[in-house]
Amino acid sequence: MLDNYFQQYGLVAILSVIAVVIPASMLLLSWLASFIRLRPNKPNPVKSQVYECGVEPIGKGSWAQFNFRYYVYALLFVIFDVETVFIYPWAVKYQSLGLFALVEMLIFVLILVVGLAYAWRKRALEWE
Protein backbone atom coordinates (compact mmCIF):
# COMPACT_ATOMS: atom_id res chain seq x y z
CA MET A 1 0.00 0.00 0.00
CA LEU A 2 2.48 2.62 1.12
CA ASP A 3 4.73 2.36 -1.86
CA ASN A 4 7.41 4.95 -1.54
CA TYR A 5 6.85 6.86 -4.78
CA PHE A 6 3.07 6.86 -5.04
CA GLN A 7 2.48 7.53 -1.35
CA GLN A 8 4.32 10.84 -1.75
CA TYR A 9 2.62 12.00 -4.90
CA GLY A 10 -0.69 10.79 -3.50
CA LEU A 11 -0.42 13.49 -0.85
CA VAL A 12 0.40 16.07 -3.53
CA ALA A 13 -2.75 14.97 -5.35
CA ILE A 14 -4.84 15.42 -2.18
CA LEU A 15 -3.26 18.83 -1.64
CA SER A 16 -4.06 19.89 -5.20
CA VAL A 17 -7.72 19.03 -4.64
CA ILE A 18 -7.70 21.10 -1.42
CA ALA A 19 -5.88 23.92 -3.22
CA VAL A 20 -8.68 24.19 -5.78
CA VAL A 21 -11.51 23.66 -3.30
CA ILE A 22 -10.50 26.44 -0.88
CA PRO A 23 -10.49 29.45 -3.27
CA ALA A 24 -13.44 28.00 -5.21
CA SER A 25 -15.47 27.70 -2.02
CA MET A 26 -14.59 31.28 -1.08
CA LEU A 27 -16.03 32.45 -4.41
CA LEU A 28 -18.98 30.09 -4.10
CA LEU A 29 -19.81 31.39 -0.63
CA SER A 30 -19.86 34.97 -1.87
CA TRP A 31 -22.03 33.86 -4.81
CA LEU A 32 -24.46 32.15 -2.45
CA ALA A 33 -24.57 35.24 -0.25
CA SER A 34 -26.35 37.09 -3.04
CA PHE A 35 -29.33 34.71 -2.75
CA ILE A 36 -29.98 35.41 0.92
CA ARG A 37 -29.52 39.16 0.29
CA LEU A 38 -26.32 39.35 2.28
CA ARG A 39 -24.78 41.12 -0.65
CA PRO A 40 -26.49 43.20 -3.35
CA ASN A 41 -26.64 41.99 -6.93
CA LYS A 42 -28.16 44.65 -9.16
CA PRO A 43 -26.21 44.85 -12.40
CA ASN A 44 -26.96 47.63 -14.87
CA PRO A 45 -25.33 48.65 -18.18
CA VAL A 46 -23.34 51.53 -16.72
CA LYS A 47 -22.04 49.43 -13.85
CA SER A 48 -20.87 46.67 -16.13
CA GLN A 49 -18.84 49.02 -18.32
CA VAL A 50 -15.11 48.50 -18.03
CA TYR A 51 -13.33 50.99 -15.80
CA GLU A 52 -11.23 53.47 -17.72
CA CYS A 53 -11.06 56.31 -15.21
CA GLY A 54 -14.57 57.51 -16.04
CA VAL A 55 -14.06 57.86 -19.78
CA GLU A 56 -16.49 55.80 -21.84
CA PRO A 57 -14.55 53.00 -23.51
CA ILE A 58 -14.41 53.11 -27.31
CA GLY A 59 -14.62 49.84 -29.23
CA LYS A 60 -15.05 46.36 -27.85
CA GLY A 61 -12.74 44.05 -25.98
CA SER A 62 -9.27 44.71 -24.74
CA TRP A 63 -7.46 44.99 -28.05
CA ALA A 64 -4.79 47.60 -27.69
CA GLN A 65 -1.30 48.05 -29.03
CA PHE A 66 1.54 46.98 -26.82
CA ASN A 67 5.24 47.19 -27.25
CA PHE A 68 6.71 44.51 -29.50
CA ARG A 69 9.78 44.29 -27.24
CA TYR A 70 7.83 41.96 -24.98
CA TYR A 71 8.15 39.47 -27.83
CA VAL A 72 11.95 39.72 -27.83
CA TYR A 73 11.99 38.98 -24.12
CA ALA A 74 9.78 35.96 -24.70
CA LEU A 75 12.28 34.61 -27.26
CA LEU A 76 15.21 35.16 -24.87
CA PHE A 77 13.23 33.50 -22.10
CA VAL A 78 12.67 30.34 -24.12
CA ILE A 79 16.41 29.97 -24.75
CA PHE A 80 17.47 30.48 -21.16
CA ASP A 81 14.62 28.43 -19.75
CA VAL A 82 15.86 25.46 -21.74
CA GLU A 83 19.26 26.11 -20.20
CA THR A 84 17.79 25.90 -16.69
CA VAL A 85 16.17 22.58 -17.63
CA PHE A 86 19.59 21.21 -18.54
CA ILE A 87 21.50 22.79 -15.68
CA TYR A 88 19.41 21.32 -12.83
CA PRO A 89 20.19 17.61 -13.38
CA TRP A 90 23.78 18.64 -13.94
CA ALA A 91 23.84 20.46 -10.59
CA VAL A 92 22.37 17.50 -8.69
CA LYS A 93 24.99 15.11 -10.03
CA TYR A 94 27.83 17.63 -10.16
CA GLN A 95 29.72 16.28 -7.15
CA SER A 96 30.25 12.91 -8.76
CA LEU A 97 30.88 14.20 -12.29
CA GLY A 98 33.76 16.50 -11.43
CA LEU A 99 35.96 18.63 -13.67
CA PHE A 100 34.71 17.21 -16.96
CA ALA A 101 31.15 18.33 -16.21
CA LEU A 102 32.34 21.80 -15.23
CA VAL A 103 34.14 22.31 -18.54
CA GLU A 104 31.19 20.92 -20.50
CA MET A 105 28.71 23.24 -18.78
CA LEU A 106 31.09 26.19 -19.21
CA ILE A 107 31.10 25.59 -22.98
CA PHE A 108 27.31 25.21 -23.06
CA VAL A 109 26.65 28.38 -21.08
CA LEU A 110 29.27 30.27 -23.09
CA ILE A 111 27.34 29.53 -26.29
CA LEU A 112 24.17 30.96 -24.73
CA VAL A 113 26.02 33.95 -23.30
CA VAL A 114 27.30 34.75 -26.81
CA GLY A 115 23.65 34.90 -27.85
CA LEU A 116 22.81 37.19 -24.92
CA ALA A 117 25.79 39.41 -25.74
CA TYR A 118 24.61 39.63 -29.35
CA ALA A 119 21.10 40.63 -28.25
CA TRP A 120 22.65 43.16 -25.88
CA ARG A 121 24.90 44.55 -28.63
CA LYS A 122 21.95 44.84 -31.01
CA ARG A 123 20.17 46.87 -28.29
CA ALA A 124 17.37 44.32 -28.10
CA LEU A 125 17.36 44.72 -24.30
CA GLU A 126 16.75 48.47 -24.45
CA TRP A 127 13.61 50.41 -25.20
CA GLU A 128 14.86 53.55 -26.90
Binding site: Q8, V12, A19, P23, A24, L27, S30, P57, Q95, L102
Partner: protein
Amino acid sequence: MNSLLESNVIFRNVYCFWAANPGNAEQCTPVGAVAVKDGLLPGGLEWLAYVMAGLSVILLIVNVYLVFAALYTYVDRRVLAKFQGRIGPNRVGPFGILQPLADGIKLMTKEDLVPAGADRWIFNLAPVVMMSSGILVLAVLPFGKDSFVVDLNIGILYVFAITGVNTLAMFMAGLASANRYAMFGGMRAVAQLISYEIPVVLSVVGIVMMAGTMSLVGIVEAQKVPFIFVQPLAFFVFIAGSSAEMNRSPFDQVEAEGEIIAGYHTEYSGMKFGVFQAAEFGAVLITSALIATLFLKGWEGPFLPSHVWFLLKLFFFAFIFIWIRATLPRLRIDQIMAYAWKFLLPLSLINIFVVAAEVLLLGDQITDSSGVSMDLTTSDMWIMAGINVVVAIVAVIGLAKITGMDARESTKVANVTRVIKGT
Protein backbone atom coordinates in the same frame (compact mmCIF):
# COMPACT_ATOMS: atom_id res chain seq x y z
CA MET B 1 13.64 9.92 -0.55
CA ASN B 2 12.58 8.83 2.91
CA SER B 3 9.38 6.98 3.53
CA LEU B 4 6.61 9.19 4.89
CA LEU B 5 6.26 7.07 7.97
CA GLU B 6 9.95 7.29 8.80
CA SER B 7 10.35 11.03 8.63
CA ASN B 8 6.98 12.78 8.88
CA VAL B 9 5.96 12.91 12.55
CA ILE B 10 2.37 14.16 12.25
CA PHE B 11 1.60 11.83 9.37
CA ARG B 12 3.06 8.88 11.25
CA ASN B 13 1.11 9.55 14.43
CA VAL B 14 -2.25 9.89 12.71
CA TYR B 15 -1.66 6.95 10.42
CA CYS B 16 -0.61 4.63 13.22
CA PHE B 17 -3.49 5.83 15.40
CA TRP B 18 -5.93 4.51 12.82
CA ALA B 19 -4.21 1.60 11.16
CA ALA B 20 -1.67 0.03 13.49
CA ASN B 21 -3.21 -3.43 13.69
CA PRO B 22 -0.73 -6.28 13.49
CA GLY B 23 -0.61 -7.35 9.86
CA ASN B 24 -2.46 -4.21 8.89
CA ALA B 25 0.39 -1.75 8.78
CA GLU B 26 3.78 -3.34 9.28
CA GLN B 27 5.45 0.06 9.00
CA CYS B 28 4.14 1.12 12.43
CA THR B 29 7.05 -0.27 14.39
CA PRO B 30 7.32 0.73 18.04
CA VAL B 31 9.43 3.82 18.70
CA GLY B 32 11.82 3.19 21.61
CA ALA B 33 10.16 1.46 24.54
CA VAL B 34 6.62 2.60 23.72
CA ALA B 35 4.66 -0.20 22.10
CA VAL B 36 2.15 0.63 19.38
CA LYS B 37 -1.48 0.32 20.36
CA ASP B 38 -3.93 -1.36 18.05
CA GLY B 39 -5.41 0.97 15.47
CA LEU B 40 -9.12 1.69 15.21
CA LEU B 41 -9.66 0.64 11.61
CA PRO B 42 -10.14 -2.99 10.56
CA GLY B 43 -7.74 -4.56 8.09
CA GLY B 44 -7.88 -3.60 4.43
CA LEU B 45 -8.66 0.05 5.12
CA GLU B 46 -5.09 1.39 5.19
CA TRP B 47 -5.92 3.68 2.29
CA LEU B 48 -8.50 5.42 4.47
CA ALA B 49 -5.93 5.92 7.21
CA TYR B 50 -3.53 7.21 4.56
CA VAL B 51 -6.06 9.76 3.30
CA MET B 52 -6.96 10.87 6.83
CA ALA B 53 -3.34 11.21 7.87
CA GLY B 54 -2.58 13.15 4.70
CA LEU B 55 -5.61 15.40 5.15
CA SER B 56 -4.71 16.19 8.75
CA VAL B 57 -1.21 17.37 7.82
CA ILE B 58 -2.47 19.24 4.76
CA LEU B 59 -5.39 20.97 6.49
CA LEU B 60 -3.15 21.98 9.39
CA ILE B 61 -0.57 23.67 7.19
CA VAL B 62 -3.08 25.17 4.73
CA ASN B 63 -5.14 26.71 7.51
CA VAL B 64 -2.08 28.14 9.22
CA TYR B 65 -1.01 29.54 5.86
CA LEU B 66 -4.38 31.23 5.25
CA VAL B 67 -4.54 32.70 8.76
CA PHE B 68 -1.00 34.03 8.46
CA ALA B 69 -1.75 35.45 5.02
CA ALA B 70 -4.74 37.31 6.49
CA LEU B 71 -2.69 38.51 9.46
CA TYR B 72 0.10 39.59 7.16
CA THR B 73 -2.22 42.03 5.39
CA TYR B 74 -2.70 43.68 8.80
CA VAL B 75 1.00 43.58 9.70
CA ASP B 76 1.93 44.97 6.28
CA ARG B 77 -0.40 47.95 6.61
CA ARG B 78 0.53 48.57 10.21
CA VAL B 79 4.30 48.44 9.72
CA LEU B 80 4.09 50.46 6.50
CA ALA B 81 2.12 53.07 8.44
CA LYS B 82 4.86 53.22 11.07
CA PHE B 83 7.45 53.72 8.33
CA GLN B 84 5.42 56.61 6.92
CA GLY B 85 4.62 58.23 10.25
CA ARG B 86 0.95 57.26 10.22
CA ILE B 87 -1.03 55.14 12.67
CA GLY B 88 -2.54 52.54 10.35
CA PRO B 89 -5.62 50.42 11.03
CA ASN B 90 -6.39 50.61 14.76
CA ARG B 91 -10.18 50.58 15.11
CA VAL B 92 -11.29 46.95 14.88
CA GLY B 93 -10.35 44.99 17.98
CA PRO B 94 -7.28 45.63 20.15
CA PHE B 95 -4.67 47.50 18.04
CA GLY B 96 -6.87 46.81 15.03
CA ILE B 97 -5.85 43.17 14.95
CA LEU B 98 -9.30 42.12 13.73
CA GLN B 99 -8.97 44.29 10.62
CA PRO B 100 -8.41 41.29 8.28
CA LEU B 101 -11.67 39.76 9.54
CA ALA B 102 -13.54 43.02 8.94
CA ASP B 103 -12.02 43.24 5.47
CA GLY B 104 -13.09 39.69 4.76
CA ILE B 105 -16.70 40.35 5.80
CA LYS B 106 -16.75 43.57 3.82
CA LEU B 107 -15.46 41.91 0.66
CA MET B 108 -17.87 39.02 1.10
CA THR B 109 -20.89 41.33 1.25
CA LYS B 110 -19.85 43.57 -1.64
CA GLU B 111 -21.50 43.45 -5.02
CA ASP B 112 -19.58 41.32 -7.48
CA LEU B 113 -19.31 43.12 -10.81
CA VAL B 114 -18.37 41.42 -14.05
CA PRO B 115 -17.72 43.75 -17.00
CA ALA B 116 -19.98 43.34 -20.02
CA GLY B 117 -17.40 42.09 -22.51
CA ALA B 118 -15.61 39.78 -20.08
CA ASP B 119 -14.97 36.12 -20.69
CA ARG B 120 -16.87 34.93 -17.62
CA TRP B 121 -15.31 31.50 -17.21
CA ILE B 122 -11.71 32.63 -17.38
CA PHE B 123 -12.55 35.76 -15.38
CA ASN B 124 -13.81 33.61 -12.51
CA LEU B 125 -11.12 30.99 -12.87
CA ALA B 126 -8.14 33.38 -12.59
CA PRO B 127 -8.31 34.02 -8.80
CA VAL B 128 -8.74 30.29 -8.17
CA VAL B 129 -5.64 29.48 -10.22
CA MET B 130 -3.66 32.22 -8.48
CA MET B 131 -4.45 31.03 -4.98
CA SER B 132 -4.14 27.31 -5.69
CA SER B 133 -0.63 27.80 -7.04
CA GLY B 134 0.28 29.41 -3.73
CA ILE B 135 -1.24 26.62 -1.68
CA LEU B 136 0.39 23.88 -3.77
CA VAL B 137 3.87 25.15 -2.91
CA LEU B 138 3.18 24.28 0.74
CA ALA B 139 3.53 20.59 -0.17
CA VAL B 140 7.32 20.60 0.02
CA LEU B 141 8.09 23.36 2.55
CA PRO B 142 9.63 21.86 5.70
CA PHE B 143 8.14 23.98 8.50
CA GLY B 144 9.85 22.19 11.35
CA LYS B 145 11.98 19.20 12.18
CA ASP B 146 10.34 16.14 10.59
CA SER B 147 7.32 18.28 9.75
CA PHE B 148 6.27 18.68 6.15
CA VAL B 149 3.59 17.36 3.86
CA VAL B 150 5.95 15.44 1.59
CA ASP B 151 9.69 15.50 1.08
CA LEU B 152 9.83 15.25 -2.70
CA ASN B 153 13.27 14.57 -4.14
CA ILE B 154 12.59 17.27 -6.76
CA GLY B 155 11.51 19.79 -4.06
CA ILE B 156 12.92 23.07 -5.34
CA LEU B 157 12.13 22.27 -8.97
CA TYR B 158 8.53 21.58 -7.93
CA VAL B 159 8.37 24.98 -6.23
CA PHE B 160 9.56 26.78 -9.36
CA ALA B 161 7.23 24.78 -11.57
CA ILE B 162 4.21 25.63 -9.42
CA THR B 163 5.02 29.32 -8.93
CA GLY B 164 5.33 29.59 -12.71
CA VAL B 165 1.55 29.11 -12.86
CA ASN B 166 1.15 32.55 -11.20
CA THR B 167 2.12 34.15 -14.49
CA LEU B 168 -0.68 32.31 -16.23
CA ALA B 169 -3.24 33.41 -13.61
CA MET B 170 -2.31 37.07 -13.99
CA PHE B 171 -2.46 36.86 -17.77
CA MET B 172 -5.83 35.08 -17.60
CA ALA B 173 -7.17 37.88 -15.40
CA GLY B 174 -5.81 40.56 -17.71
CA LEU B 175 -7.07 38.96 -20.88
CA ALA B 176 -10.54 38.04 -19.62
CA SER B 177 -11.32 41.45 -18.13
CA ALA B 178 -11.95 43.09 -21.52
CA ASN B 179 -10.23 46.15 -20.12
CA ARG B 180 -7.22 47.69 -21.84
CA TYR B 181 -5.48 48.58 -18.61
CA ALA B 182 -5.96 45.07 -17.29
CA MET B 183 -4.53 43.80 -20.56
CA PHE B 184 -1.45 46.00 -20.13
CA GLY B 185 -1.11 44.69 -16.59
CA GLY B 186 -1.28 41.13 -17.83
CA MET B 187 1.29 41.81 -20.56
CA ARG B 188 3.65 43.43 -18.09
CA ALA B 189 3.11 40.55 -15.66
CA VAL B 190 4.12 37.98 -18.27
CA ALA B 191 7.16 39.94 -19.43
CA GLN B 192 8.36 40.71 -15.91
CA LEU B 193 7.70 37.34 -14.32
CA ILE B 194 9.31 35.27 -17.05
CA SER B 195 12.33 37.58 -17.12
CA TYR B 196 12.90 37.29 -13.39
CA GLU B 197 12.19 33.58 -13.36
CA ILE B 198 15.55 32.87 -15.01
CA PRO B 199 17.89 34.64 -12.53
CA VAL B 200 15.90 33.25 -9.59
CA VAL B 201 16.03 29.68 -10.88
CA LEU B 202 19.72 29.96 -11.78
CA SER B 203 20.65 31.44 -8.40
CA VAL B 204 19.46 28.28 -6.66
CA VAL B 205 21.67 26.06 -8.86
CA GLY B 206 24.68 26.85 -6.67
CA ILE B 207 22.79 25.62 -3.61
CA VAL B 208 21.66 22.44 -5.36
CA MET B 209 25.26 21.86 -6.39
CA MET B 210 26.55 22.09 -2.81
CA ALA B 211 23.72 20.08 -1.30
CA GLY B 212 23.76 17.45 -4.06
CA THR B 213 19.98 17.19 -3.85
CA MET B 214 16.89 19.21 -4.79
CA SER B 215 14.92 18.10 -1.72
CA LEU B 216 14.32 21.07 0.61
CA VAL B 217 14.93 18.89 3.67
CA GLY B 218 18.22 17.76 2.15
CA ILE B 219 19.19 21.37 1.46
CA VAL B 220 18.54 22.37 5.08
CA GLU B 221 20.58 19.43 6.34
CA ALA B 222 23.46 20.28 3.99
CA GLN B 223 23.86 23.75 5.49
CA LYS B 224 26.74 23.39 7.92
CA VAL B 225 27.17 27.11 7.43
CA PRO B 226 24.06 29.10 6.39
CA PHE B 227 24.17 29.54 2.63
CA ILE B 228 23.48 33.26 3.06
CA PHE B 229 27.18 33.54 3.99
CA VAL B 230 28.44 30.90 1.58
CA GLN B 231 26.61 32.33 -1.44
CA PRO B 232 25.82 36.01 -0.79
CA LEU B 233 25.55 36.62 -4.55
CA ALA B 234 22.85 33.96 -4.91
CA PHE B 235 21.01 35.44 -1.93
CA PHE B 236 21.06 38.91 -3.48
CA VAL B 237 19.81 37.63 -6.84
CA PHE B 238 17.14 35.51 -5.17
CA ILE B 239 15.75 38.23 -2.92
CA ALA B 240 15.72 40.82 -5.73
CA GLY B 241 14.27 38.41 -8.26
CA SER B 242 11.62 36.98 -5.99
CA SER B 243 10.44 40.40 -4.88
CA ALA B 244 9.92 41.08 -8.60
CA GLU B 245 8.07 37.79 -8.96
CA MET B 246 5.68 38.85 -6.20
CA ASN B 247 5.06 42.24 -7.89
CA ARG B 248 6.13 44.08 -4.82
CA SER B 249 7.74 47.43 -4.91
CA PRO B 250 10.23 48.48 -6.31
CA PHE B 251 9.14 46.08 -9.06
CA ASP B 252 5.36 46.64 -8.94
CA GLN B 253 4.94 47.81 -12.51
CA VAL B 254 2.32 45.10 -13.01
CA GLU B 255 -0.12 47.01 -10.83
CA ALA B 256 1.32 50.51 -10.99
CA GLU B 257 -1.53 52.70 -9.75
CA GLY B 258 -0.31 55.83 -11.45
CA GLU B 259 -0.21 54.28 -14.91
CA ILE B 260 -2.58 51.36 -15.36
CA ILE B 261 -5.10 51.75 -12.51
CA ALA B 262 -4.59 48.42 -10.73
CA GLY B 263 -3.17 46.28 -13.50
CA TYR B 264 -4.60 42.86 -14.07
CA HIS B 265 -7.15 43.03 -11.20
CA THR B 266 -8.67 46.38 -12.17
CA GLU B 267 -12.07 44.85 -12.91
CA TYR B 268 -12.20 42.52 -9.93
CA SER B 269 -14.42 43.34 -6.99
CA GLY B 270 -15.86 41.59 -3.98
CA MET B 271 -14.51 38.23 -2.95
CA LYS B 272 -12.60 37.67 -6.21
CA PHE B 273 -10.48 40.69 -5.38
CA GLY B 274 -10.12 39.31 -1.86
CA VAL B 275 -8.82 36.02 -3.17
CA PHE B 276 -6.26 37.86 -5.31
CA GLN B 277 -5.10 39.89 -2.32
CA ALA B 278 -4.86 36.85 -0.07
CA ALA B 279 -2.85 35.02 -2.73
CA GLU B 280 -0.49 37.96 -3.14
CA PHE B 281 0.18 38.35 0.56
CA GLY B 282 0.46 34.59 0.94
CA ALA B 283 3.09 34.61 -1.79
CA VAL B 284 5.23 36.94 0.32
CA LEU B 285 5.06 34.50 3.23
CA ILE B 286 5.91 31.55 0.99
CA THR B 287 8.86 33.39 -0.52
CA SER B 288 10.09 34.33 2.96
CA ALA B 289 9.78 30.69 4.00
CA LEU B 290 11.72 29.63 0.91
CA ILE B 291 14.49 32.13 1.57
CA ALA B 292 14.70 30.99 5.19
CA THR B 293 14.89 27.37 4.05
CA LEU B 294 17.40 27.85 1.26
CA PHE B 295 19.69 30.43 2.83
CA LEU B 296 19.23 30.47 6.60
CA LYS B 297 19.11 26.80 7.63
CA GLY B 298 15.32 26.58 7.70
CA TRP B 299 14.12 25.14 10.99
CA GLU B 300 17.55 24.54 12.53
CA GLY B 301 18.67 26.59 15.50
CA PRO B 302 19.71 26.24 19.14
CA PHE B 303 17.49 26.19 22.28
CA LEU B 304 14.09 27.01 20.78
CA PRO B 305 11.79 24.41 19.18
CA SER B 306 12.31 23.96 15.43
CA HIS B 307 8.92 25.38 14.44
CA VAL B 308 9.57 28.57 16.41
CA TRP B 309 12.93 29.02 14.66
CA PHE B 310 11.28 28.55 11.30
CA LEU B 311 8.58 31.13 12.04
CA LEU B 312 11.13 33.61 13.41
CA LYS B 313 13.20 33.40 10.23
CA LEU B 314 10.06 33.59 8.10
CA PHE B 315 8.86 36.75 9.87
CA PHE B 316 12.31 38.28 9.64
CA PHE B 317 12.28 38.04 5.85
CA ALA B 318 8.59 39.05 5.67
CA PHE B 319 9.58 42.19 7.59
CA ILE B 320 12.50 42.79 5.21
CA PHE B 321 10.03 42.75 2.30
CA ILE B 322 7.86 45.40 4.00
CA TRP B 323 10.98 47.43 4.66
CA ILE B 324 12.02 47.25 0.98
CA ARG B 325 8.52 48.27 -0.03
CA ALA B 326 8.57 51.27 2.28
CA THR B 327 12.03 52.40 1.20
CA LEU B 328 12.49 52.07 -2.56
CA PRO B 329 10.60 54.00 -5.26
CA ARG B 330 8.99 52.22 -8.19
CA LEU B 331 11.16 51.56 -11.27
CA ARG B 332 10.13 52.06 -14.89
CA ILE B 333 9.27 48.95 -16.91
CA ASP B 334 12.37 49.23 -19.13
CA GLN B 335 14.59 49.60 -16.06
CA ILE B 336 12.99 46.51 -14.58
CA MET B 337 13.62 44.44 -17.70
CA ALA B 338 17.19 45.72 -18.07
CA TYR B 339 17.85 44.91 -14.43
CA ALA B 340 16.82 41.29 -14.94
CA TRP B 341 18.71 40.65 -18.17
CA LYS B 342 21.79 42.83 -17.82
CA PHE B 343 22.43 42.62 -14.11
CA LEU B 344 20.85 39.66 -12.32
CA LEU B 345 21.35 37.07 -15.08
CA PRO B 346 25.16 37.61 -15.40
CA LEU B 347 25.43 37.66 -11.59
CA SER B 348 23.67 34.31 -11.26
CA LEU B 349 25.88 32.78 -13.96
CA ILE B 350 29.01 34.08 -12.20
CA ASN B 351 27.72 32.56 -8.96
CA ILE B 352 27.19 29.13 -10.54
CA PHE B 353 30.71 28.84 -11.91
CA VAL B 354 32.47 30.31 -8.90
CA VAL B 355 30.68 27.82 -6.63
CA ALA B 356 31.34 24.96 -9.07
CA ALA B 357 35.07 25.69 -9.12
CA GLU B 358 35.20 26.00 -5.33
CA VAL B 359 33.37 22.70 -4.80
CA LEU B 360 35.94 20.99 -7.02
CA LEU B 361 38.95 22.62 -5.36
CA LEU B 362 37.91 22.41 -1.70
CA GLY B 363 35.82 19.25 -1.52
CA ASP B 364 37.43 15.90 -0.74
CA GLN B 365 36.13 13.16 -2.95
CA ILE B 366 34.55 10.29 -1.01
CA THR B 367 33.00 7.12 -2.35
CA ASP B 368 30.19 5.40 -0.51
CA SER B 369 27.17 3.26 -1.29
CA SER B 370 25.30 6.08 -3.02
CA GLY B 371 28.21 6.83 -5.34
CA VAL B 372 30.95 9.43 -5.51
CA SER B 373 30.33 12.74 -3.75
CA MET B 374 32.26 15.69 -2.42
CA ASP B 375 32.69 16.11 1.30
CA LEU B 376 32.59 19.78 2.28
CA THR B 377 33.54 20.34 5.90
CA THR B 378 32.49 23.34 7.95
CA SER B 379 35.87 25.00 7.54
CA ASP B 380 35.71 24.46 3.77
CA MET B 381 32.40 26.26 3.78
CA TRP B 382 33.79 29.18 5.77
CA ILE B 383 36.67 29.48 3.27
CA MET B 384 34.08 29.49 0.48
CA ALA B 385 32.12 32.16 2.35
CA GLY B 386 35.21 34.36 2.60
CA ILE B 387 35.99 34.04 -1.12
CA ASN B 388 32.38 34.48 -2.18
CA VAL B 389 31.80 37.66 -0.18
CA VAL B 390 34.75 39.26 -2.00
CA VAL B 391 33.52 37.88 -5.35
CA ALA B 392 30.02 39.21 -4.65
CA ILE B 393 31.22 42.73 -3.85
CA VAL B 394 33.55 42.86 -6.87
CA ALA B 395 30.91 41.40 -9.22
CA VAL B 396 28.10 43.71 -8.09
CA ILE B 397 30.18 46.88 -8.22
CA GLY B 398 31.95 45.87 -11.44
CA LEU B 399 28.78 44.91 -13.29
CA ALA B 400 27.00 48.06 -12.12
CA LYS B 401 29.89 50.10 -13.57
CA ILE B 402 29.91 48.15 -16.87
CA THR B 403 26.16 48.33 -17.45
CA GLY B 404 25.96 51.93 -16.27
CA MET B 405 23.20 50.88 -13.95
CA ASP B 406 24.49 52.85 -11.00
CA ALA B 407 25.62 56.34 -11.92
CA ARG B 408 23.40 57.30 -14.83
CA GLU B 409 20.10 56.15 -13.41
CA SER B 410 20.73 57.39 -9.89
CA THR B 411 21.57 60.88 -11.18
CA LYS B 412 18.31 60.85 -13.12
CA VAL B 413 16.42 60.00 -9.96
CA ALA B 414 18.34 62.68 -8.05
CA ASN B 415 17.48 65.27 -10.71
CA VAL B 416 13.79 64.40 -10.55
CA THR B 417 13.81 64.72 -6.77
CA ARG B 418 15.53 68.08 -7.05
CA VAL B 419 12.86 69.30 -9.48
CA ILE B 420 10.09 68.11 -7.19
CA LYS B 421 11.62 69.76 -4.16
CA GLY B 422 12.20 72.93 -6.16
CA THR B 423 15.92 73.23 -5.48
